[in-house]
């Protein structure tokens, strides 16, 4: 049944593509219904799911001569991310309610992207995984290049090329697995049990991790993220930060770490004090956390602040993954979910509620507009989002970052302290942006010069969906942790457990 999340999205996209002249109202209705259907399917399935098992969704022989199957399955991690994708998709439609330029094409691309993301999260065949992964690149490009803002063509191209470069690395890795793995199969479950040689894992792991890491915003390959996020139309930035970056992180987990755990073992020598890929990538992740936050602190463009914050928060995800402990990995997956929701909310406020009304994103120009008074709902939403973003207890981000920090304490105490500093800086930049954009003091006569249009119902609904999600998970993290954590006890992660004893 879960496979229908993919099919429904693609069917919706195809329907919209076939009626490019349809009225905006019908188009929106189709897009909304499609994305809600996807969300409902994922949630229903999550309720029925028995934690710890692997739910086979579809298993059909596809290309027999290469041992490639159409194999869709889900464990707790996939389900968590499916729900995330569903939520962000629904909210994204709400926040795209005002797209008037070629709406059918817009939503067709949008749904294609959503469908591809569902596909990635469900694929348990490496080839299929890669197919969906790459499929997601093109809609992103067009969404940004056609409907974007500041330097959209440049940003879109940069995003596409970075993604493609990353996936090229992954492709090399996948081909190597296929050719040298000994098993003529792409089945992830089978591959997880096959013992690749240490030497092989040592070079395939970094290749694949880096390839996926580019999309996850791994420093210093993150530069596509801020420009891409800033240029993208609201729904696209929500998806980019919300789910597309998660594709990268998910790939790091599902392919790099799960299949090649021995690639994380020590090299046997030290370079700059780093003795393994694990240490190296952890260092990069922490640099990303601190760097992203620090750069966000000095941005003038509101959307860039959020863009860099994504880099910083994704650093937490990667750090959590590299702790290799159940708690850190669980935290990383939870952080993927949490950041997906929160980044969606932040971009919704900045892109839709603020920019579409004020037509500027420069913090110093937003200040005199008294947005807190003119559009109080936007201010309210942003305050909630900001609190969630800085890891206030009670929001989903707190539990996630808590788990990651615990995991990091255990593995690399220094990174935990640095990540703590990163949190501080992120508090500072979030609060600075909040302050400058919404609560800047009155300066002169231009106060309330032009009343801005009020917040529409779809925006309220979209914000409500996201806020409820982050608060619900924040107050009752078990709802997701009970899905996520048992997944790490499944046989799939046996290699990891053996290597880094739990």
């Amino acid at each position: 049944m879960l496979a229908w999340t993919i099919y429904i999205s693609f069917l919706g996209a195809a329907a919209l593509a076939l009626m490019p002249k349809a009225g905006a109202r019908i188009v929106r209705a189709i897009a909304l219904l499609t994305s809600i259907a996807g969300l409902v399917l994922s949630i229903v399935q999550a309720f029925r799911f028995v934690p710890g098992q692997l739910l086979t969704v579809a298993h059909v022989i596809w290309i027999p001569s290469l041992g490639i199957n159409y194999y869709l399955a889900a464990d707790g991690i996939s389900l968590t991310l499916l729900i995330l994708n569903g939520i962000v998709a629904v909210a994204g439609v709400f926040f795209s309610w005002n797209v008037e330029q070629r709406p059918a094409t817009f939503f067709a691309l949008y749904l294609t992207l959503i469908g591809a993301v569902y596909g990635v999260f469900l694929s348990f065949d490496l080839f299929l995984f890669f197919v969906f992964y790459e499929l997601a690149i093109i809609p992103k490009y067009f969404l940004i290049a056609i409907w974007g803002s500041t330097r959209r063509e440049y940003a879109a191209m940069k995003l596409a090329l970075y993604s493609f470069a990353g996936s090229a690395m992954v492709l090399i890795g996948i081909i190597a697995v296929f050719v040298q793995g000994g098993e003529k199969t792409m089945n992830i479950v089978v591959l997880a049990h096959s013992a690749f040689s240490l030497h092989f894992q040592m070079w395939v792991f970094p290749l694949i991790f880096l390839g996926f890491g580019i999309l996850a915003g791994l420093w210093p390959f993150h530069t596509w993220a801020p420009t891409g996020h800033a240029a993208a139309p609201t729904a696209a930035s929500m998806l980019l930060a919300g789910v597309v970056m998660k594709l990268g992180a998910y790939g790091c987990l599902r392919v790099a770490i799960m299949l090649f755990p021995r690639g994380l073992e020590p090299w046997g020598f030290h370079v700059l004090g780093l003795g393994s890929w694990r240490a190296l990538f952890s260092a990069l992740a922490v640099i990303g956390i601190v760097y992203g936050a620090t750069v966000a602190l000095v941005q003038k463009d509101f959307k860039f602040v959020i863009g860099y914050s994504s880099v910083s928060h994704m650093g937490f995800v990667l750090l959590g993954l590299l702790t290799l402990s159940q708690i850190g990995l669980g935290g990383a997956v939870l952080q993927m979910f949490s950041h997906g929701i929160i980044a969606g909310l932040l971009f919704a406020v900045v892109g839709r509620m603020v920019y579409d009304r004020a037509h500027t994103r420069v913090l110093s120009e937003l200040g005199p507009m008294h947005l807190a008074r003119v559009v109080p709902f936007a201010a309210f939403t942003f305050v909630i989002a900001a609190m969630a973003s800085i890891g206030m207890p009670g929001f989903s981000g707190f539990v996630a970052e808590l788990e990651i920090l615990i995991g990091a304490w255990r593995s690399f105490p220094l990174t935990a302290v640095l990540a703590g500093i990163g949190i501080l800086v992120s508090i500072a930049f979030t609060w600075r942006a909040l302050d400058k954009a919404f609560f800047a003091d009155a300066t002169g006569a231009n106060a309330a010069a032009s009343p801005l249009p009020g917040i529409s119902l779809p925006e309220r609904l979209g914000a409500a969906v996201l806020i409820i999600a982050t608060v619900a998970v924040g107050l009752y993290p078990r709802s997701l942790l009970d899905l996520i954590l048992p997944a790490f006890n499944s046989p799939l992660f046996e290699g990891l457990r053996k290597g880094f004893g739990q």
Partner: protein, 488 residues
């Protein structure tokens, strides 16, 4: 070895004969009965006649699977040659359909006749393992293509392209002839398998090295691999669009199959220690990929861009020959067929757009508004060329790369280079798509009028690209089955 009888020869070459014959009919009909009709009608009638031949040939091939080798490899009919003949006949139909109604010439009969002759030549080319027949059919094909390139008498560009193509082609033919004459001298045979047996006895002699280089040069010219690619950009740009489409697709398939046959059967068959041919080809592949893809980035003409990208693709496809085993050949065939599909489709769209303007990148601005259907198809073609799943080009790349590494780990560097270059290629394909979808059209650009046949053909090709991408096994299963029964 079956000595063969003339009757059997006739029976086995019936598809080729049908195709050639329908070419003659199209020619005669146009020159006699149709001469006074309107050009558009002449195109339509001629095209119908010209399609009948290949269609009948396909029917014959599908209904009568044969397995034979006559006259010491002069005619080798087996499942793989039949597969290729079906494909080539199919591409001929596409090329004919895309050419109506063209305005570049009033010599409809001659044009269609030559297309069909070329088609027949290719069909012979893929079903022989005899160097003499190879050379003869290759020359027939080449001459046809030279003429097709220069068919637009009113265009100086076309004439120039034809002349260049002819000069380079003539030179390459000379190299090839020299190469095979050396081979004959070395082995005393013109049959590929016997040559292989003879030369694998002694290693790499200087004479053999010269023969190898000469042969590869000649073949490299046919497949437009760097550094023998110089004719390609001009020919792609100057030739009338249907001719260019045909040159870029069908002749590519035939040439690559020939290349693979000559190398795998003639030079390296059964002797894995004969590493020299693959290394030489690997080098050519590397040069082609780098040069083709990098040069494509700076092009402002879409046709030249496609030409350089074709050089790059030739580089990838040579990997299939480098692998030098069955999966390699299988992946090569899959790749070249899907590549040819995407290319002929792209040229089809070009033909439609060029009715209004030339092929500068800027002329594509806002095409999505002027012709949504063609734009959508163009996107599929270009993305398939770029290797984006789930389109056919992606699986082709994946398969050919993995086959190369699987054959020998030493090709890892080549595969990495290829993958890196295909990442580069996305950039220039996206540049075209950016014009189509992102840019607004200039004020004077109007809606593009296309015939139903054109839209349907392009749409059919696009559908094929998608279907073969989603279900590669449709083609791959066929190829693998054919290769399995092919005696090696």
């Amino acid at each position: 070895m079956n000595p063969g009888t003339p009757l059997e020869l006739l029976r086995l070459t019936l598809p080729e004969i049908v195709v050639a014959f329908s070419g003659l009919i199209a020619l005669t009909l146009d020159l006699t009965a149709m001469q006074r009709r309107q050009l558009a009608i002449r195109w339509r009638v001629g095209a119908i006649v010209a399609c009948v031949g290949p269609a009948v040939a396909i029917l014959l091939l599908v209904m009568r699977p044969e397995q034979a080798s006559l006259f010491e490899g002069m005619l080798v009919v087996n499942s793989i040659s039949q597969l290729l003949q079906i494909v080539l006949a199919g591409f001929t139909i596409f090329a004919v359909l895309l050419s109506i109604p063209s305005e570049f010439t009033s010599h409809v009969g001659e044009y269609l006749g030559i297309v069909l002759f070329a088609s027949a030549a290719m069909m012979v080319l893929v079903s022989t393992q005899n160097l003499l027949v190879i050379f003869a059919s290759l020359e027939l094909l080449s001459l046809s293509l030279y003429v097709l390139t220069g068919f637009d008498k009113r265009s100086r560009q076309s004439a120039e392209a034809a002349l260049k193509y002819f000069l380079f082609g003539g030179m390459a033919a000379a190299f090839f002839l020299f190469g095979i004459s050396l081979l004959y001298g070395l082995s005393g045979s013109i049959e590929l398998k016997e040559i292989a047996g003879a030369i694998s006895a002694h290693g790499l002699t200087p004479m053999l090295a010269v023969a190898l280089v000469m042969t590869v040069t000649g073949l490299g010219f046919k497949v437009a691999a760097a550094p023998f690619h110089l004719w390609a950009p001009d020919a792609y740009q100057g030739a009338p669009t249907p001719s260019a489409a045909y040159i870029a697709s069908a002749s590519k398939i035939a040439s690559f199959f020939l290349f693979a046959m000559v190398i795998t059967l003639g030079f390296t068959a059964g002797a894995s220690h004969n590493w020299h041919a693959p290394v030489l080809i690997g080098l050519i592949a590397a040069i082609s990929m780098v040069l083709g893809n990098l040069a494509a980035i700076v092009q402002s003409s879409v046709r030249r861009l496609l030409a350089y990208s074709a050089i790059g693709h030739a580089g990838y496809m040579l990997l299939g020959i480098v692998s030098n085993n069955t999966p390699g050949l299988s992946s090569l065939l899959y790749y070249v067929i899907t590549y040819a599909l995407a290319t002929i489709g792209a040229f089809g769209v070009l033909a439609a757009v060029e009715k209004q303007s030339i092929d500068r990148l800027a002329d594509f601005a806002g095409l999505s508004r002027r012709s949504p259907w063609l734009s959508f198809c163009m996107m599929i073609f270009l993305l398939s060329l770029a290797g984006i799943p789930p389109l056919a080009g992606f699986f082709g790349k994946f398969y050919i790369f993995s086959a190369a590494i699987a054959s020998d780990e030493k090709w890892l560097w080549l595969v990495i280079l290829a993958i890196a270059m295909s990442a580069v290629s996305l950039y220039y394909y996206l540049r075209v798509l950016k014009q189509i979808y992102v840019k607004d059209s200039s004020a004077d650009a109007s809606r593009i009028e296309t015939t139903f046949a054109m839209r349907a053909t392009v749409g059919l090709i696009a559908a094929l690209v998608v279907v073969l991408g989603c279900f590669p096994n449709l083609l791959l299963g066929w190829i693998d089955a054919a290769l399995r029964v092919m005696p090696r």
